[in-house]
Symmetry: C2
Subunit: 363 residues, 2 copies
């Protein structure tokens, strides 16, 4: 029995993954309905605010659901939110057995769905492929528990660790395949953040240029409000997703009022002129953004490592060498005596993209 439970849960997890990038800050969830060894219904959470995975799977199976087993990657909800509770729907449809990968991480509701199902006489089994399910929704779990967004670094470096020449030129370090991969990352994370120097240097569009891609929130950390009006960040804000994090000193500035009123740019004001990464991402979390792709530059990345606040990252290495001490390193500001004091990346995985290699890690 265990084996087939795992098999169907595996399928439910695969279905869940189809919602990646479209459901944040909700979790990815998948569901499969099985009767007499036959799959009779499939579903997944497709879109933030839309119906849950169980609803799709149960409607897919229809009247056949009576006496069947449902596999869900996350505990069915028990409360009326944007949709009616799934636990009720499962009961109503006549499901006999419910297999769940992991309980709801929200301590206020964890176990409530299971209780409801059990009360209705349904045979409930939990923690099937739990680790996998937790990993799939690592962003959601972190955010729901701490309201702090998941912070993931992306940068492209030369073999000597540089992200730009002394004059700020960085086009291009990585190859086309790597740059395509970045578009996928931008779709996956809810926000994308850069420092003001990167914005000024690159005038980036910061959107997800893949088919059906969701554009992330675009965030610039700009203490002195230097973002130019004619830049993509301001001009291409038709989706109202540009956010400037700046000093409170700029609250009465003409630029702030103009950007806000004429371009619908959202503002977050912080005390002082030097922010910590901790306060920055806390504020972003409060806007309902559950995950941030940090794309540079040097001072943002250095700050994130200094505060030991990154959850993971992917660094693309190009087979190029600047050999120039004045070129801009991706990280600086540390002082170490021996190699043992260096920052060690964990859970290292490599992906080859043509002549570029991406090193993925956690911290």
């Amino acid at each position: 029995m265990i084996n087939s439970d795992e098999k169907y849960m595996e399928l439910a997890l695969e279905l869940a993954a189809l919602g990646e990038g479209n459901v944040n800050p909700n979790p990815m969830v998948g569901a499969v309905v099985v009767k007499d060894g036959k799959i009779i219904g499939r579903g997944y959470h497709k879109k933030y605010g839309g119906p849950h995975a169980e609803v799709f799977a149960l409607e897919d199976s229809g009247a056949e659901a009576v006496g069947a087993t449902i596999y869900v990657t996350l505990e069915p909800c028990s409360h009326y939110g944007q949709t009616p509770p799934c636990a009720e729907k499962i009961i109503k449809m006549g499901i006999k057995r419910c297999v769940i990968a992991t309980l709801d991480p929200n301590p206020l509701v964890a176990g409530k769905g299971v209780k409801l199902l059990k009360k209705a006489g349904i045979d409930v089994k939990i923690n099937i492929l739990k680790e996998k399910a937790l990993k799939q929704n690592v962003v959601f779990f972190k955010y729901i528990e701490r309201k702090i967004p998941y912070l993931f670094l992306k940068c492209a470096i030369t073999l000597d660790g540089k992200i730009a020449t002394e004059s700020g030129n960085s086009k291009w370090i990585s190859n086309e395949i790597s740059r395509g991969r970045v578009q996928e990352l931008r779709h996956k994370y809810m926000g994308i953040m850069v420092g003001i120097k990167t914005l000024l240097g690159d005038n980036p569009r910061l959107n997800a240029r893949i088919e059906g891609g969701n554009n992330p929130y675009r965030i610039v950390v700009d203490p002195s409000l230097k973002t130019p009006e004619n830049y993509n960040f301001i001009q291409n804000n038709k989706d109202n997703k540009s956010i400037i994090i700046t000093s409170k000193r700029n609250i009465d500035s003409e630029k702030h009022l103009k950007f806000e009123n004429n371009y619908n740019v959202k503002f977050v004001f912080l005390e002082g002129d030097r922010f910590t990464m901790r306060e920055i991402i806390k504020e972003i979390g409060e806007l309902g953004i559950d995950s941030i792709l940090l794309e540079g530059g040097n001072s943002m990345i250095s700050m994130a490592f200094k505060e030991n606040i990154l959850d993971g990252g992917q660094i693309f290495i190009a087979p190029k060498i600047t050999g120039d001490n004045n070129a801009i390193p991706f990280i600086s500001g540390f002082k170490i005596g021996t190699m043992k004091e260096s920052i060690e990346l964990k859970d290292v995985k490599f992906k080859v993209y043509g002549d570029n290699i991406a090193i993925e890690f956690s911290l």
Copy 2:
């Protein structure tokens, strides 16, 4: 016929590769004798100065060789050197057909072996898997044509491109698997070279610590003759393979005389105090050393790239970050305005060694 010719030549090339590290500055050569679709003899050049591949293969096949075909990865020699000419042996043994991957690169003898064979009525076919054969002996071909050693870089760097902390600490950047791989490289190349700073910082043994490994010649570029007497480089010179490249100014120094007389250290003297990589490797080539593994440090590597004199290299990247601007980069001294001006590595290949990645390249 083509297909089986290639098949047997492939085997001959595989046999040739078994001589790697033991035959320099001779080429690796393999030979296979085939009769009626059956392999009746195999051989390869095992050891510098020892019998050639054809001799082993022909002796392996014995009297059966009459009327057979021999596959050789390099044109059989036609002159009396350390061993009698192989072309004669092939004729004597009654071989009917001879298939050769590539002609001898030495213009003085190229084609002479073939001529001898043809004159004896043997059917000769050349250039079967020629590219592969040339690649296998790239070191030999470069050296025989130009008397300049093949120069291959090996270094281990952090993700931010450093080879040591500011104080010179570098133990360890790469992991154990990578360090094991370096021992193989040391066996493969005839010489291993470092700058004086690396020698002073690491007191390296510079030997090939693998079973049956050949120790390379150990070379230090030490213009001011700073090598300490109590270091491995001097003390462990039982095989008389330590070579110091220094300024002519040190010719009458006590240290020179002591190192030479008491420890059998070999000396190469160059004009001035600042040498070019070009003159260094030319001198090494004149000592009969056909290949050099350049192991650092910063100034040696920077010089090799500056003079565009490297043939290739392998850089091991460890998932570590110093974040320290004062840590020692593997390369410096260049000035570039745009990324397009950076050095681009070619023929890039990746090898994963645990959590380290090695990028192999040519230039």
